[in-house]
Assembly symmetry: C2
Homo-oligomer: 274 residues x 2
């Protein structure tokens, strides 16, 4: 294991030849923090370690956990009693010959803190279908990598009124928002696109699916269609993001959806601090 | 037009919150230089300006041309009489709220110089088929963006013997190498995958297609199949890269291909300096 190189964003950026900038060759996590503790922190760290391994980037959970502790000590006071967001950007490292990664490279970790984004309207948000198609490489499915230009292009469609746009695959199935996973309630069951199709497999999605199954509810991971959402059997569409929480959709592309608070009581960030 | 912010790589990297690092939200060009002049320089600049416009990044050709002149003056002596490589990394800029781009953002341009990579064996190189599938978003086709993790993963398959691996789309059609476009000779015609399917539409490819057509040769832009390459009618497969030139393939996945020098005399970097 080559020790990672730690960079605090307030002290400057990564080296000019870092591969994260050059090729999107890395990963990131954004973690909701309350004081020095993080919501679903261990799941965030586990995802980063697992996906780093998929990319051949060598980092240990212990290294990341140590950095999170340091970040908590460093930043918590700055935000007083407000929640804040910890961002970890892990890259394969600096240099190398073109695209080809050097297996001996020391990864770089950039750490930054920022205020919480504006909260979503708990009574439901307005979303639309994105005109940007989503393409997911099977080898990279679910990985929260730094190669996110599709999400940027889709997010450019967001006006001030829209909270999110929903991206579809080439078959027209709804896959995910730019920054959220999808969960639909239909016929008293839950439906979410399977993780093998996802651009980013969110930690809140995984936690919520487990929680719903533990409580005996039926959860299906299968392609989600436009008729699923717009049809009369739809009982609600929810957007999942570990920082923003579980956000009900009130209107999609001008169609009103039923909004109920069934999930609002399930996810309580304060109970998930680690 | 918001003026771009210029960064020389030798003086440090981009700001910590640059969107090129955060989301692969930008573009790059690598230009073969001889002294203060660049091979196919105007095509490189035109591609960057055109693709920046597709992404909504505001930059002018004149701004880029000025930077290239400055770079030539700054770096040419360092490489004596050796050719060198000028790299321009253009990002949407620093900051913003998540993926969503701010239309008023000033782009960042990082400029670096490096020695030429090792030349390819003019008698032909050894390549293989990549196990990494290539997925091309129709909206981003051909754009030499910073979101290049697929190419990194494919390049990880390169051993010391392999010059390149060829990536295929989900239909099994051969699309391009990690850093090269493909051109096949068959039945005395030329075949290359259409630009709408390409991850990166190379400037050498475009120049070469025009040159071949000008000389009255038949050029077809259509999907390229494995049987096209391995069949007995194949008269040669060429890899195209504006820095490395036109590289004939001698062996692909253990199959010998015919190698002739038909293209070797067409591309002379010295004649294309601007």
């Amino acid at each position: 294991m080559v020790a990672l190189r730690l960079f605090w964003a307030e002290a400057g950026g990564l080296p000019a030849d870092d591969r994260g900038l050059a090729y999107g060759d890395g990963l990131f996590e954004t973690i909701r923090m309350a004081g020095q503790k993080g919501v679903l922190l261990s799941r965030h760290l586990e995802r980063m370690v697992r996906d780093a391994r998929r990319l051949g980037i060598k980092v240990s959970r212990q290294e990341l956990a140590t950095v999170c502790t340091q970040a908590g000590q460093r930043f918590a006071e700055r935000f007083n009693d407000q929640d804040w967001v910890l961002k970890l950007t892990l890259t394969r490292g600096a240099g190398g010959r073109g695209y080809r990664p050097d297996p001996g490279m020391a990864p770089n970790l950039l750490v930054s803190a920022s205020p919480m984004p504006p909260a979503a309207d708990a009574s439901g948000v307005m979303v639309d279908f994105s005109r940007v198609p989503l393409t997911v490489n099977p080898l990279l499915a679910g990985i929260k990598s730094l190669s996110r230009l599709e999400q940027v292009m889709a997010a450019a469609e967001l006006g001030s009124a829209l909270f999110e746009v929903i991206m579809s695959d080439s078959d027209g199935n709804l896959v995910e928002g730019t920054r959220t996973n999808l969960l639909l309630r239909k016929n008293d069951t839950w439906i979410t696109p399977p993780s093998a199709c996802l651009a980013v497999a969110g930690v809140l999605r995984q936690w919520l699916l487990e929680r719903l199954r533990q409580s005996g509810q039926a959860v299906f991971e299968r392609p989600l269609t436009v008729p699923d959402v717009l049809g009369s059997e739809c009982q609600g569409l929810f957007l999942l993001n570990s920082v923003l929480g579980i956000v009900p959709v009130r209107t999609i592309a001008g169609h009103d959806l039923p909004v109920d608070g069934v999930l609002a009581t399930i996810f309580n960030p304060l109970e998930l601090l680690e």
